[in-house]
């Protein structure tokens, strides 16, 4: 199974092992995550990439325990261990109990995809930032307001002492995402999860927001999980990457390894579908479509779209094979080697 310890230079903050999440739907139980394993190191960035519907957001929400009501964690564990507190298995907590609420917004913070709708329209941005500060710290209202202004200043919002009393609809999308970042970081979280933080923004704003995220992460020495479908964002921001496909991590490792020398046919296909400046060859999209969660192929879930599939690929699902440098690949092509690498 996944073995991230080989490359570990700093300690692991969060470790997801063999996570399984099921949804109760009208068509019966549907498995949205099947054996997802990840690790996030302290102060480092993990990128999770994949097509829409591959389970990236479900993974993030499992860590926050913000899954929809019809979803449940049916297997695996999520171990969180900060240096100064006892380790916690997040999956064992009550969904809305005091322990997870104490972690949310405090040790774990999350930024969402849609800055236009992530803030309540009826409260000022200051009030919304202060809410978390008042909840998780001993500061009084006046001090919390000062902290909110300071956070707005740190995310480069001009005239923060005025903007603190602005309503979200008076700010642009980029500004709102900055407010979300300020809110998420207001209680100095150990882990920041950004779920497609720039998908809804202009390209120019995207670069600013990514810079800001990295800056703030470095200043707070927080770990960051950045969820995206954009390999460029991963290349720019992440140290490690996990490539997901229909609820499974198909390949993981350092960004240099995975993007520089992809081993899983799906990762290769994804990389070939990204346009490159100066490249003459036509873009090749990943053939076929993502299988429905209700009609999964029996073997490797990618086999029907895979150009190098063998017969075993169609009959049984590959385990994750560990490669050198802490990498892992969920593909039968790496069977003969069995973890020794190439």
């Amino acid at each position: 199974m996944t073995d991230g310890s080989a490359a570990a230079t700093s300690r692991q903050l969060l470790r997801v092992d063999d996570l399984r999440v099921e949804f109760d739907t009208d068509y019966g139980k549907v498995c949205a995550l099947d054996g997802v394993s990840l690790a996030v190191e302290e102060g480092r960035t993990l990128g999770i990439v994949g097509e829409s519907g591959c389970g990236k957001s479900i993974t993030a929400r499992s860590i926050m325990r913000l899954l929809p009501q019809n979803a449940s964690i049916t297997g695996g564990s999520i171990h969180y261990s900060a240096p100064d507190t006892a380790p916690v298995d997040v999956t064992a907590l009550k969904p809305n109990g005091a322990t997870i609420r104490q972690l949310r917004g405090n040790a774990f913070a999350m930024i969402f995809q849609e800055p236009m709708t992530s803030l309540s329209p009826v409260y000022t941005v200051g009030a919304q930032i202060m809410e978390a500060i008042l909840l998780h710290t001993d500061l009084n209202r006046r001090e919390a307001r000062e902290r909110a202004i300071e956070m707005l200043d740190r995310v480069n919002i001009p005239a923060p002492e005025k903007r603190v009393d602005a309503y979200p609809h008076q700010l642009s999308g980029g500004m709102r995402q900055r407010v979300m970042i300020a809110m998420a970081l207001s209680c100095s979280p150990r882990l920041l999860i950004a779920d497609e933080p720039t998908t809804a923004l202009d390209v120019t704003i995207e670069a600013q927001i990514l810079d800001l995220l990295q800056q703030m992460q470095a200043a707070e020495n927080a770990s960051l999980i950045i969820i995206t479908h954009d390999l460029g964002v991963v290349a720019e921001t992440a140290d490690h990457v996990a490539v997901m496909y229909v609820g499974r991590v198909v390949e993981s490792g350092t960004v240099q390894d995975v993007l520089g020398d992809p081993q899983h046919p799906y990762t290769r296909a994804l990389l070939h579908s990204v346009p490159r400046i100066g490249a003459k060859a036509r873009l090749s999209p990943v053939g076929g479509t993502v299988p429905s969660l209700l009609e999964m192929p029996r073997g490797c879930k990618f086999a029907p779209r895979c150009s190098v599939a063998k017969s075993i690929c169609h009959s049984s699902e590959p385990p994750s094979f560990a490669l050198a440098g802490g990498r892992s690949v969920k593909c039968w092509l790496h069977d003969q080697g069995g973890g020794t690498g190439r």
């Binding site: 809305n96 104490q102 999350m110 969402f112 992530s118 803030l119 309540s120 329209p121 309503y167 979300m180």
Partner: protein, 329 residues
């Protein structure tokens, strides 16, 4: 904001003028006038009046004049607080008849509105939070019946139950019989409050059910929005997420609906008051229309219209205060 309110108030005066014209004309539309209906009444009690007497009555009240002159005669008294006389009520000034009943109507309608909102909003929230659970289904089923039963049936049901199960001696009325004809005082007011729940139930039941359904729908809408997840991600208690973040926004469409809801309550009040014999504007209005007593009926219509316009303006102002995205200029 101030200029908006001033503009709306000016517009309201204009509206009231138009409403006074239209309502006066509409009351005059049916064939005949008060004298015709009075003559019919006299015939019915077998003491028909002579043609000369009727003609004298017409002369006296100016009923033979063209409608526009009658209208001008009526409105010219408004600045002095003179709303004409009620021909069907022994020439009592309309203002004297209407004022005490107007107070009762207002008390009843506003209390009903407050209770309806006070119950419908929390019920809607509870139903939405327990979506598709037993509580939600129970609320929905009850609301379905409540919406389907017309208010007059509820009123009759209340009469039936109070007489046959609680042995009520006097049925109807909005205070104990001993206070009849007394001016308003503390004891009478207390007695009025004690009598209000029945009429309020009859008037408000349908609106309560409807508003609850709307609140439930709004809540489900809002609860699926992203900022609710943001609130949960902060570590807030679910109760705080539901009340402070979801309900705070879901209530806005209800506020704007109060403007629409008001006529329902006033209309319901008329029907229910007639059945329960309440001393409100409703029964007086019905009598005035049947007797073609145009000054009385016209004045009451104008009062209803005024409540409506003021209610709508207040709803708009409360909405602007409640939702910072709304600005008037």
């Amino acid at each position: 904001m101030l200029s908006f309110v001033i503009r709306r108030l000016l517009l309201m005066i204009l509206m009231m003028i138009v409403i006074s014209m239209v309502s006066f004309v509409i009351i005059q539309l049916p064939p005949g006038d008060w004298v015709t209906s009075y003559a019919a009444h006299l015939r019915a009690i077998s003491s028909p009046a002579s043609e000369a007497t009727l003609e004298a009555l017409r002369e006296r009240y100016g009923l033979g004049e063209p409608v526009w002159r009658q209208y001008l005669f009526w409105v010219s008294g408004f600045p002095r607080g003179d709303f004409g006389i009620a021909m069907s009520m022994q020439d009592t000034p309309v203002a004297d008849l209407v004022l005490p009943r107007f107070g009762m109507s207002l008390l009843l309608s506003l209390s009903t509105l407050v209770v309806v909102l006070g119950l419908a909003i929390p019920f809607g929230i509870i139903a939405a939070v327990n979506r598709n659970g037993p509580i939600d289904y129970l609320f929905s089923t009850v609301a379905f019946f409540a919406l389907s039963i017309p208010s007059f049936i509820v009123a009759l049901g209340i009469l039936f139950i109070s007489v046959f199960y609680f042995g009520a001696v006097s049925i109807g009325g909005l205070y104990d019989a001993q206070y009849m004809g007394e001016p308003m005082n503390w004891a009478k007011f207390k007695s009025t409050l004690e009598h209000m729940p029945g009429p309020m139930l009859a008037i408000g039941l349908g609106g309560l059910a409807g508003t609850m359904r709307i609140m439930r729908g709004n809540m489900l809408d809002v609860l699926s929005q992203q900022f609710i997840e943001t609130a949960r991600a902060k570590g807030l208690r679910e109760r705080v997420v539901v009340v402070k973040h979801a309900a705070r926004l879901a209530v806005n469409p209800i506020i704007s609906r109060v403007g629409i809801h008001l006529p329902e309550i006033i209309g319901g009040e008329v029907i229910v008051s007639v059945i329960l014999g309440l001393p409100t504007l409703g029964p007086l209005f019905l009598r005035a229309v049947l007797a073609q007593d145009m000054y009385l009926a016209g004045t009451i219509i104008m009062l209803f219209a005024l409540i409506l316009l003021i209610g709508n303006l207040l709803a708009d102002l409360v909405l602007a205060w409640s939702d910072p995205r709304i600005t008037y200029n």
